[in-house]
């Protein structure tokens, strides 16, 4: 969902900093002046790569195929991007850019806190954001359980919410697509976390 994907990219950037804080701190102490260590850019690359090649494609895929559900029926504009002027197609393009930007900001802010000795803020910050996002989605119940259009969900133009399908009944192939997207996301996240933890473990043992 649009409401989840952008904060998720921010959280991922901050999570990577949190998991790799030992390495980042150790490396920053060996660099001179305001120069950043190599690991800073390595982690920045990870944050942006994860945002751009894991979260963004997943979001685009669901937004392209099932635009109403992907933004829990907040706006009709996402469903009408073709031949409707200059603004509507800009929204999905801006969505992609916002995901990458969120990943970048999450990394930069996390690194600043880490270097300022405020690493205790990291975990409450990204967990708090996840909780807030979860509450926003839950507040929109039952939008995330129904598949259809903006007009159907809001009972507009003679259409009715009653005619919407359950997301678990694989309407228009949605359930299968969503499961595929989630598998892709989980595998990528586990791989990224494993890489960072392994890197830090190697640093700890001095090998």
């Amino acid at each position: 969902m649009v409401q989840i994907d952008i904060p998720a990219a921010f959280v991922a950037g901050m999570l990577f900093i949190d998991l790799g804080r030992k390495t980042l701190k150790a490396d920053s102490s060996t660099t001179e002046g305001s120069r950043k260590p190599a690991t800073y850019y390595r982690y920045l690359f990870r944050a942006i790569f994860f945002a751009g090649f894991v979260i963004a494609p997943a979001g685009i895929y669901l937004l392209a195929g099932w635009p109403g559900w992907e933004q829990i029926y907040w706006s009709r504009r996402f469903e009408q991007v073709m031949h409707t002027g200059w603004l509507n197609p800009l929204l999905p393009a801006g969505f992609v850019m916002a995901i990458v930007l969120a990943g970048y900001v999450g990394h930069v802010l996390g690194y600043r806190w880490l270097m300022a000795g405020k690493e205790k803020r990291l975990r409450p910050a990204y967990i708090g954001i996840l909780v807030a996002v979860g509450l926003v989605v839950l507040y929109n119940y039952p939008s995330f359980l129904l598949m259809g259009t903006y007009d159907q969900y809001h009972n507009l133009y003679g259409q009715s919410r009653e005619t919407m399908a359950s997301v678990w009944s694989n309407p228009y192939g949605f359930t299968a697509a969503w499961v595929g997207v989630m598998c892709y996301f989980v595998v990528a996240l586990v791989f990224a976390v494993w890489r960072i933890l392994k890197e830090n473990a190697v640093r700890d043992t001095g090998r």
């Binding site: 991007v81 509507n88 393009a93 990458v100």
Partner: protein, 144 residues
Amino acid sequence: MLAIDVPVALLSGLALAEAGKNMLKSDDPNRHHFMRTAVLLFAAFFITPIPFYFFLGWPAWEVNFLWRWQDNLHDSPLYSATRVALYAGGGSGGGLARRPPTVGYVGRAQALRGRMAADARPEAIPANTARHTLRLLVESLADI
């Protein structure tokens, strides 16, 4: 247009590699990581959103009216995946520099083929360029 945007994305990756060749040739990992991050950011903010925007708003024009499928992507897992492919294509075009030695190599190889670079080194390019490039790209993913 797709026929223009994809080659432009590839050329942008090569141009960035050429511009940052001193950093790519350096032994300093700091410069390598900086370079590939810069290329990725460039791809995400300046290359991909442009064809993506036109493909969403005016899909038939974007593909030079070659096909019909792009006019009806909603509620279709397969067709909606084409947008992801477009996004990935735009991103990977500029993102050839995920691993700096790779893009340095690809840049030199391509430049040599096109006779665009006077300083390209023929001895650095093995016989099977495509396979070698693919291997380096796979290694670059493992290097994340």
